[in-house]
Amino acid sequence: MKIIVCMKQVPAAATASIDPLTKTIVRTGRNAVTNPFDLYALQTALDIKSGVGGSVTAITMGIPAAQKVLQDAISRGADDGAILSDRAFAGADTLATSYALSLGINKLGGADLIVCGKMAVDGDTAQIGPELAQHLGISHVSDVSEILEMAPDHLVVRRVWDDVEQELYLPLPALITVAKGQNLPQLPTIPGMLRGRAAQIPTFTAEDLQADIARCGLKGSPTQVVRTFTPPVRGEAQTIDGNEAQQAGQLVQIIREVLHGAD
């Protein structure tokens, strides 16, 4: 089975803190990591490969340095990678990104299965997977939490949505987005890391993909950010003093007022 995993480089949030004046994330700059959800996607792809055989290719779109996520993927077991990188792709929203990814996947000769993380932690849209499936004209299932059955021509998957759980038969080719927590992503191995470093990762430009420039990057993005602002800040928290019994008493009052006010 030919499997392609879509991955994204995101700013590392674990080291992020809030600037007390501007209330924005302090970006340390040096830290960029693989989107954590994509590691679950990669692991799902690797599990399927070890079940039914085939290959796992990681693909990303980004600045040249983003090929680090592909090296990361290879070090964790992916066979190879490809990066879409071109100034023309910069500033893409989900429509333009998914368009470019669809061309990249076609350039790689298509896939039986495409696996995406549920979402990227920097954008939080969860839209790339479904939009990509639509561009490619294939079925998709979002939020897959478990692969119940795998075969060269189909998968049976489980997903959990709020208060309903579905088991779905999914003929291939198809795309799935993978929820967190369905597997434990493997750590890179040392031979894997060496392979990742040595890997020849092809770069595809807009021209290589014969992309319609009007559909790429900022130009091809129908959504425009008109302004960003800091959400209204709460006033200073009121401290509840006293011994624990007194604090508990005050809490009871506060809870009562809040619940009464909410009715």
Partner: protein, 329 residues
């Protein structure tokens, strides 16, 4: 069919177990104002059959017309048949705005519609308004992990599409309306290639994202057994237990209770944070909370910056005293 005007404002209303989900009504409530401000007709769009009462509720919530697309493809909630139908309807009737509740299902199928129509889709908005000058829909959503808000517009492609987070807009007060027939459209669309083998309702209760009262625990709770206190307080207040990511990662709490960037966003009336320090990723998930009470031993914990009330102290001990005080009241 001539009742359906082009350039209208559409609200997709999701049905679950023959019931309209509240988010569709919340959207209609806000869309009613948007429609008035921009002089557009407002349509509720439902895929699949709904009851007379539901149709009436949609009218009472502000819909000028209820478009009901019926066909066997909508019996099962799957991405492709729903997306395909909305694509066909949009191509035929050219809505100017299409709003969808940001439920897991909405977020799974709406992107297909946007991609097929070549239009923009703004995910998980928390506020909508109309730009007085251009008449465009202004879509506001948290960005960069919730520390910033971004206002986004779709200038040239149509429809202007957004998914909107459940629970952030109020339910509209139903208006007095007389019974009116929906506009029923027969849809012979196919179900697609994905087959539903089995569907099970999960009896884990309402999702944490919808909960009005949440008692959330973080690492400061210490041992797993102390979670019993958190659960007891949640039970007493009629709320649910939430957790920070470390507790979920340690296996103390299920993922369904995880609050934050990689878990659920919550917007309760009351949030009691017990031993949560308030990492950026956690704070990203609680921006919608109305009243926040935080208990933590570290007076410098970032959680206090977003709290309305703070107690510097051991949450386990405070919880024990609070439970006792509630018993006595």
């Amino acid at each position: 069919m001539e009742r359906i005007k082009k350039g209208a404002l559409w609200v997709f209303c999701e049905v679950q177990e023959n019931q309209l989900l509240p988010v569709g009504l919340q959207l209609l409530g806000r869309a009613k104002t948007l429609a008035e401000e921009s002089n557009r007709p407002l349509y509720a769009v439902v895929l699949g059959k709904i009851s007379k009462d539901s149709v009436k509720l949609l009218h009472a919530s502000g819909a000028h017309e209820v478009i009901c697309s019926v066909g066997s493809a909508f019996d099962e909630k799957l991405e492709q048949p729903y997306a395909d139908s909305l694509i066909r309807l949009s191509e035929q009737f050219e809505p100017d705005i299409l709003l969808v509740g940001a439920t897991p299902f909405g977020r799974a199928f709406a992107p297909r519609v946007a991609a097929a129509l070549g239009t923009g889709l703004t995910a998980d908005c928390t506020e909508l308004s109309i730009d007085a000058e251009s008449g465009l829909l202004l879509q506001t959503r948290p960005a960069f992990g919730g520390n910033m808000m971004a206002t986004i517009r779709t200038a040239t492609s149509r429809p202007q599409m957004a998914t909107v987070r459940p629970g952030v807009l109020p339910l509209p007060e139903p208006m007095e309306v007389s019974d009116r027939e929906p506009i029923t459209i027969e849809d012979d669309g196919q179900i697609g290639l994905v087959k539903l083998l089995k569907e099970t309702a999960i009896s884990r209760g309402a999702d944490i994202s919808q909960s009005k009262i949440i008692v959330a625990a973080g690492r400061g709770i210490g041992q797993k057994k102390n979670l019993k206190l958190v659960q007891a307080l949640a039970d007493k207040l009629g709320g649910q237990v939430g957790a920070s990511r470390p507790l979920v990662d340690m296996g103390f709490c299920p993922y369904s209770s995880q609050i934050g960037q990689t878990g659920y966003s919550v917007a309760p009336d009351l949030l009691i944070c017990c031993g949560i320090s308030g990492a950026v990723q956690h704070l990203a998930g609680i921006g919608g909370a109305k009243t926040v009470i935080a208990i933590n031993t570290d007076p410098k914990a970032p959680i206090f910056a977003v709290a309305d009330y703070k107690i510097v102290g051991d949450c386990v001990s405070v919880l024990e005293h609070l439970l006792k005080a509630l018993d006595e009241n």
